[in-house]
């Protein structure tokens, strides 16, 4: 079976966990939830670093059940911790070799050379970890985790200790990971923008319980969940390159929602892309504008309109082809345009993020 | 006789003369001697717990007797190998006169003696003070060395102006002043030796016990300030 099935339950002081979920054995699955909801506890339980009761099956192998639990070092996981976790007494190269010597034979995975190359580690190899920047450290930690040839790669907020450029750097590395390694990734985060960029599957947690789980866009656009109400709320869906216009640096992308013009690096037609459209970047017009700098105009239908935590705002779900977009507008505008479910409108999209 | 080896357990204060006696013995007999030193009490404790010693040269007579009584030594093997002489000594040249009047005057800050509970020279010093009727006066000013060697160190370093030490320790000192305590003032300091049980059949050990009473040994003893034991 190609799923990871887990059910953990138990207590940690005042905190009680009871979470069951099933994740595909490929791509990125994110555990999302507010601070203290139990994300780290679950990840540590998967890795065998704490003794939560429950059971855990990874593909065909049972790692934990009522009778027995594999010890941590016998589980074929790679674990990227939130903060620095390189061995201070070993150089970068020796940190990598440490993992290689203990790699699970038989599993597939990238070679040392390939990783050094793709993560740009060559100049770092002789250095000691104390002399690396935060971003460099996380890149090494990711390479090291992959070199154990894990069956599952666990990442606990690998970006939260990083800022600005280092964060962008690692996000790019993470986006490319599925191409580098066959191991599925279980990614823990409480930042919705990271989740939107990376995850194919989403498990939403709160206070130790699973609130919802499923494909990313289905979860992101459910207005009964908190994810649709944050600053970074938006929709995520797949597209395919139709054509690239090198002169304008623009790419035409076909998606379930129609054709979009996006800024993306040159790539051959047919290549799959992930598109993200933030609720704040979507405006609504009753007629198609002709002389505006806004490039993308899609015909859409209003699905429903929900309140937003900000009292003057509304969250509008728009059906665009087979896909649902979110738009955040003011109640003032909603009233002026007399928006209501079923109305045919134009979605004006100021920005599309592409992976 | 072919060469055997004998291990001596010697009270620390006797270490210098015993080395000379041992070489004389080795030269005369062809046996080999090894010397271990320590305080008499420590050596006794070690012997009681299986130490590999053949002959016990104590600084007193009590502990060899006890070793004999407790079956640690060959019965009847105990002999007195030397008699110690007590001397009042000061590192300062004119401090002590022939009458030891400094004691009577009480003209000193501290008086070093060996610990009377553990060292025979200490006991002899106390006996001497009592015999002179000076013990009560001296008591608050007494400082006690762990053994007679430490007592001498107190005096030699000037930390104690006076001290009762062994004649053997100062016999070749030209400087300083001394009063050899008359033997009437304290019970004789018998230093006894016994043949230990494990050495009952060690010919070298027996030979060494014999050699302790020899003229050669007696000459050495006298040179080092001991009285030789009464001839057997």
């Amino acid at each position: 079976m190609s799923t990871l099935d887990a059910h953990f339950h138990g207590r940690h002081g005042a905190f009680s966990l009871d979470a069951a979920f099933s994740l595909p054995m490929h791509g990125v699955s994110a555990l999302f939830g507010p601070s203290g909801c139990g994300k780290t506890t679950i990840l540590r339980s998967i890795a065998g670093l704490n003794r939560m009761a429950g059971h855990l099956r990874v593909g065909d192998a049972v790692w934990q059940d009522a009778q027995r639990a594999m010890p941590a070092h016998a589980r074929a996981v790679g674990y990227v911790f939130q903060e620095a976790s390189l061995f201070a007494h070993l150089s970068v190269g020796a940190n990598l070799d440490y993992a290689i010597r203990r790699a699970k034979a038989g599993n597939a995975g990238p070679t040392r050379e390939a990783l050094v190359d793709s993560l740009g580690l060559a100049p770092l190899l002789p250095r000691m970890p104390a002399r690396l920047s935060g971003g460099e450290r996380q890149r090494v930690a990711i390479a090291r985790a992959l070199l154990t040839r894990p069956q599952v790669l666990l990442m606990d907020e690998p970006l939260s200790a990083l800022d600005g450029p280092a964060r962008d750097d690692i996000l790019g590395v993470l986006e490319a990971l599925p191409a580098v390694s066959p191991a599925p990734i279980v990614y823990v985060s409480h930042a919705i923008d990271e989740v939107a960029r990376l995850a194919d599957t989403l498990v939403v947690l709160d206070a130790g319980k699973v609130m919802a789980s499923g494909p990313t866009n289905a979860i992101l656009t459910r207005t009964d969940l908190p994810l649709a109400h944050g600053e970074h709320a938006g929709a995520v869906f797949r597209g395919r390159i139709a054509a690239h216009h090198a002169d304008a640096h623009l790419t035409e992308v076909d998606s379930d929602g129609g054709r979009l013009l996006v800024s993306a690096p040159a790539a051959p037609a047919g290549r799959a892309l992930r598109l993200r459209i933030a609720a704040r970047d979507v405006s609504i017009a009753l007629s198609r504008p002709t002389d505006s700098s806004i490039v993308n105009h899609l015909p859409a239908t209003v699905v429903d309109i929900s309140p937003d935590p900000h009292p003057g705002h509304r969250l509008v779900r728009l059906a665009v082809g087979d896909t649902v977009l979110l738009a955040r507008i003011t109640e003032h505008s909603r009233a002026r345009l007399a928006l209501a479910p079923g109305l045919a409108v134009w979605a004006l999209i100021k920005g599309v993020a592409v992976r | 006789a072919h060469a055997e080896s004998v291990t001596l357990a010697v009270a620390t204060n006797f270490i210098v003369p015993v080395r000379e006696i041992a070489s004389a013995f080795e030269a005369a007999s062809g046996h080999r001697v090894r010397i271990s030193t320590g305080s008499t009490g420590k050596l006794y404790a070690q012997i009681a717990h299986g130490a590999p010693f053949d002959v016990f040269l104590a600084a007193d007579s009590e502990r060899p007797a006890r070793a004999e009584a407790e079956g640690l030594a060959v019965p009847g093997s105990r002999i007195t190998y030397a008699i110690g002489k007590l001397v009042l000594y000061s590192a300062e040249p004119a401090r002590i006169d022939a009458q030891a009047s400094v004691l009577r005057r009480g003209d000193y800050t501290r008086l070093a003696i060996a610990n009377p509970d553990t060292a025979p020279y200490g006991l002899a010093a106390v006996e001497t003070l009592r015999a002179l009727g000076l013990y009560t006066a001296a008591a608050p000013r007494l400082i006690r060395g762990d053994n007679i060697a430490q007592t001498y160190q107190f005096v030699a370093t000037g930390n104690a102006p006076l001290g009762f030490v062994a004649l053997s320790q100062v016999i070749d000192h030209a400087e300083g002043s001394r009063w050899v305590v008359p033997e009437t003032l304290y019970a004789p300091i018998h230093q006894d030796a016994v043949l230990l049980a494990r050495a009952a059949r060690n010919p070298a050990a027996g030979a060494f016990m014999q050699f302790l009473g020899s003229d050669a040994a007696r000459r050495i003893l006298i040179r080092y300030g001991y009285a030789p034991p009464p001839s057997r």
């Binding site: 941590a72 070092h73 070993l90 993992a99 790699a103 090291r144 | 717990h49």
Partner: protein, 221 residues
């Protein structure tokens, strides 16, 4: 005298090794166990400190002597009881110096924290592998402090060794006893010479160890 020097070096080196071999697992257990009574064990380890060395030596003599159960077991095993042998010296020195090794090593292990060991486990290192490949190298400063204190203490150690060793030339007569004997025998010149040599030698050993450690630490930072 050369005999005594060689014996001292042999004893100090061997004791330091045994101290590290015994003290390191003990310190590890003290640092990581959740057992409530571990502080009691820690206090027991510190106890040899409060007994005068000679007295400690005396009790070791009693405990290991041929009449004790331990001594009889040793006799059955080695053919002789442990006191008055080099092996006995090592045992005495180890017990006496153990607190100086266990304390800093324990502190060093505690300073490592959980994380590096968890990381090692996720990289596939068994607990024993992680102990050797992660905990030991990370605790190196503490191990070095422990080794230096243990070495120095064994070199200077005297009461226990004198009592349990019996001051037998070439076998249990170490340098500290030799110096002691010279002082007692009033051969002060020889004592001064030996003491000065010993102090100078130890100074160099300690200084070099500390500077090496400092260099290594700076490389790591």
């Amino acid at each position: 005298m050369l005999e005594a020097i060689a014996l001292t070096l042999k004893l100090a080196t061997l004791s330091t090794l045994v101290l590290l071999l015994v003290g390191t697992p003990l310190a590890w257990w003290l640092a990581r166990s959740g057992a409530v009574w571990k502080e009691a064990v820690a206090a027991v380890v510190a106890l040899p400190l409060v007994l005068p060395p000679t007295v400690l030596g005396f009790y070791l003599l009693v405990a290991l002597g041929p009449n004790s159960p331990l001594g009889q077991a040793a006799t059955a095993l080695f053919g002789h009881a442990l006191p008055f042998s080099f092996a006995g010296l090592v045992i005495g020195s180890v017990i006496y110096s153990l607190p100086f090794v266990v304390q800093p090593v324990r502190n060093a292990f505690e300073a490592i924290g959980e994380r590096p060991l968890e990381v090692a486990a996720t990289l596939g290192a068994s607990p024993w592998d992680a102990f050797c490949s992660v905990a030991l190298p990370l605790a190196r400063p503490g191990l070095l402090t422990g080794a230096v204190l243990g070495f120095a203490h064994t070199v200077g150690e005297f009461g226990v060794v004198l009592m349990i060793g019996g001051n037998i030339p070439g076998e249990t007569r170490v340098l500290s006893i030799a110096i002691y004997d010279y002082v007692e025998a009033l051969e002060w010149d020889k004592a001064h010479l030996l003491a000065a040599g010993m102090v100078a030698f130890s100074f160099v050993v300690i200084l070099v160890t500390m500077l090496t450690e400092k260099r290594l630490r700076e490389r790591r930072a």
